[in-house]
């Protein structure tokens, strides 16, 4: 039905038509007409006022990762829009669908360096999947429709729509969102069927392999191909590693799981990757954090790469069999061509590596000191074996979470893998919690990263988001300190932290909180958080510790630094 509406109304009506029920933002001059129109739509779309626009883009990201739907954030021109950028770059690196709406100065002032003008299309160009500058009311509806289409199809990603203020204030006759057709001649979206010849080649390679390994990435989850992945693994008895973002696509508790690999992945996983003869990457982009030095990664392997993005083929590694297409469709056509096999020797070899890793596992060592792996494992137990969504920040705690929380549920770990954005956890968890409604959502952050965005505790309180927050407080920028320990002769330049009292901080926002520094109190604190209606914060005070294994940057994954055997002194490298 066509109607006469203002540009500002088009924005809200388009969002509602796209199924958006919540959006995150902050008003300002150039987006004011849109905020003014919000009152008309408030019963259909819930607006969450953020403390800082970085929070808005991370919230949209967390919402999108947790639900699989497009997250939406809104900001004003200039500084507001620029504050969104950290979150957009984070989403772009990790293929997260977001639509960002930003206000822009009126067309008459474009290019005049007027108040709060910044070239947002230019700034966001390399960190979005696509972007629009709308200077004409006729283009507004189509731009938003295309933005959603591009964000959610193919390899998902963030799309920004910059709308000049005058367009928001212009009346348009004959607006009919449903009638708008997406016209993108240069964009091939999703559901691409792979070439049957490539599938057949892949099947042959897999069937001939003696030491195969699957590397499952987030693409598996985006394509909803978890079940097919599992059938493939079980049919041919192929061990499954994941990338960091692939965690959750294959149950870590499955006998064929070899956890995840790379710089701080499990040692046995890295051994398997280095020794395999065929590596089957599914929806994983094989980035340097996973591969270590490109030339020395999986040196004995021929690589089959399933990905929807043709540009990922051969970007980092030489690929034997590229299979471009949607992971679900590709796996479906591959499966009938896969022979049932067992690979007993290979699986036994991997078991041996696993036993070796377990021997030096920190959890196997008797120590009274509270440590992050212990906290993570306790949380796993207390969430009925991982029935919760964990949102991490960036640093050591992030690696420990990924190592010790045995994820079995899809989309149950939200983490900034590609960009490694500190400050991600709290706002992303707010977004995730708002998308997941009453499901259990936990934040796991370091004391450094938490402070980057803890101002969003205001949003937690205001929206009464029942998110449970843990801070692993080691009074250091831990991950950086670890590198200084190992590579810079313990010169702690810029890493010791003088922290506030986190319990008091939480209480100042009206959020109940508790400090824990002993192993025996961990369970009780987690239970208290779970039993509390609404948000709760636990500060865990821990001594510093190292994450192992550790592959030095730019080195081969064969050159892992491992935790010392228990009988040897553990405090020296």
């Amino acid at each position: 039905m066509s109607r006469t509406v203002f540009g500002a109304q088009i924005i809200w009506e388009a969002l509602i038509a796209e199924g958006v029920d919540v959006c995150f933002g902050m008003p300002g001059g150039a987006i004011l007409p849109t905020y003014d129109a919000l009152a008309k739509y408030e019963y259909q779309i819930h607006h969450v006022l953020v403390t800082h626009e970085q929070g808005a883009s991370h919230m949209a990201d967390g919402y999108a990762r947790a639900t699989g739907r497009v997250g939406v954030c809104i900001a004003t021109s200039g500084p507001g829009a620029i504050n969104l950028m950290t979150g957009l770059a984070t989403a772009q690196m990790d293929s997260v669908p977001i639509v960002a709406i930003t206000g822009q100065v009126p067309v008459s002032l474009l290019g005049k360096d007027g108040f709060q003008e910044a070239d947002i299309q230019g700034v966001s160009l390399p960190i979005t999947k696509h972007n629009y500058l709308v200077t004409n009311i006729e283009e507004l509806g189509p731009a938003i429709k295309e933005a959603f289409y591009i964000a959610r199809t193919g390899r998902p990603g963030p799309v920004l729509v910059d709308v000049t203020k005058d367009v928001q204030q212009t009346l348009m006759e004959g607006f009919d969102y449903d009638a708008i057709e997406v016209n993108l001649p240069g964009y091939i979206s999703n559901k691409m069927e792979a070439d049957p010849k490539d599938i057949a080649r892949a099947a042959r390679l897999i069937n001939e392999s003696e030491r195969p390994v699957i590397v499952a990435g987030q693409g598996v989850s985006i394509a909803h191909a978890e079940a097919e992945l599992r059938v493939l693994a079980e049919k041919a008895n192929i061990p499954v590693a994941t990338s960091l973002l692939g965690i959750g696509t294959f149950p870590t508790t499955h006998p064929l799981s070899i956890s995840w690999g790379g710089m701080h992945g499990e040692a046995y996983c890295n051994h398997a990757l280095q020794e395999c003869d065929v590596l089957i990457a599914v929806g994983a982009r094989l980035d340097d954090r996973l591969t270590g030095k490109f030339d020395t990664f999986a040196p004995k392997a021929r690589i089959v790469h399933f990905d929807i993005d043709p540009a990922e083929m051969g970007k980092n590694l030489t690929i034997d069999t590229p299979v471009v297409g949607d992971a679900l469709l590709s796996l479906r056509s591959l499966l009938p061509q896969i022979e049932s096999t067992s690979h007993p020797d290979w699986l036994e070899q991997i078991e041996e590596w696993k036993r070796d890793s377990k021997e030096i596992d920190i959890l196997e060592q008797e120590t009274d000191d509270l440590n992050a792996p212990f906290i993570v494992r306790s949380l796993w137990h207390m969430t009925n074996g991982g029935d919760a969504t964990i949102v991490t920040d960036v640093g050591q705690h992030q690696m420990w979470e990924a190592q010790y929380f045995n994820h079995t549920k899809k989309r149950s770990l939200l983490t900034s893998g590609g960009l490694g954005t500190m400050g991600y956890a709290l706002p992303a968890a707010i977004g995730a919690q708002m998308g997941l409604k009453s499901e259990e959502v936990w934040v796991m952050a370091g004391d450094g990263g938490f402070q980057m965005t803890m101002i969003e505790l205001k949003t937690v309180r205001e929206q009464n988001v029942p998110v449970k927050i843990t801070i692993i407080n080691n009074s250091f920028l831990g991950m950086v300190q670890q590198w200084q320990d190992v590579f810079y002769e313990k010169r702690y330049s810029g890493t010791p932290l003088m922290n506030p009292d986190f319990v008091k901080i939480a209480e100042a926002y009206g959020i109940p909180a508790r400090m824990v520094d002993k192993k025996e109190d961990v369970e009780d604190a987690i239970r208290e958080a779970q039993e509390t209606d609404g948000p709760f914060l636990i500060e865990f005070r821990v001594p510093t510790e190292h994450v192992y294994p550790m592959v030095p940057a730019g080195k081969s994954n064969s050159e892992m630094i491992r935790r010392k055997r228990p009988l040897l002194p553990t405090d020296e490298e």
Partner: protein, 176 residues
Amino acid sequence: MKFNSKHTIIAWMEDKPGVLNRVAGLFRRRNFNIESLTVGHSETPGISRMTFVASGSQRELSQIQTQLDKLINITRIQDVTDEPALVRELALIKVEATGENRHEVVQMAELHRAEIVDVTIDSLVVQIVGREDRVNALVENLRHFGIIEMVRTGAVAMTRSRLKTVEEFGSNGTNQ
């Protein structure tokens, strides 16, 4: 395959504001080695056509095309390096031409099948249209007289045959 080679690639794109910025930004960000780039209208209204010459290894050249193809506004890409194609460049070269050597410059231009398009008391402007090596040869020879100013367009290309259809590209074509 590590050895570098030079490729001539055509890309078609929607004629929208900022498209060239996207292309240039991509080349810069991904550190692609682009030797020349020329853009103008195509036969289809709303679609611009760009010819660019890039060099790199096989893998780099494939990256250039697949990454470029990901830009939403790029509608099609074709590498014409191994196709029968017309590749042309235009150059205007302003050469010192005083009394004594004026005749020699004219002769040199003629030998290269170039044209004199402007004459002043002490200079001539030579125009040449041709493949890059022909333009290079002329420029080399004119240096001898003293080049005052030069402008080159970079290559534009067109295949001799009719364009291939998408099916003919096959799955390894870049235009997916």
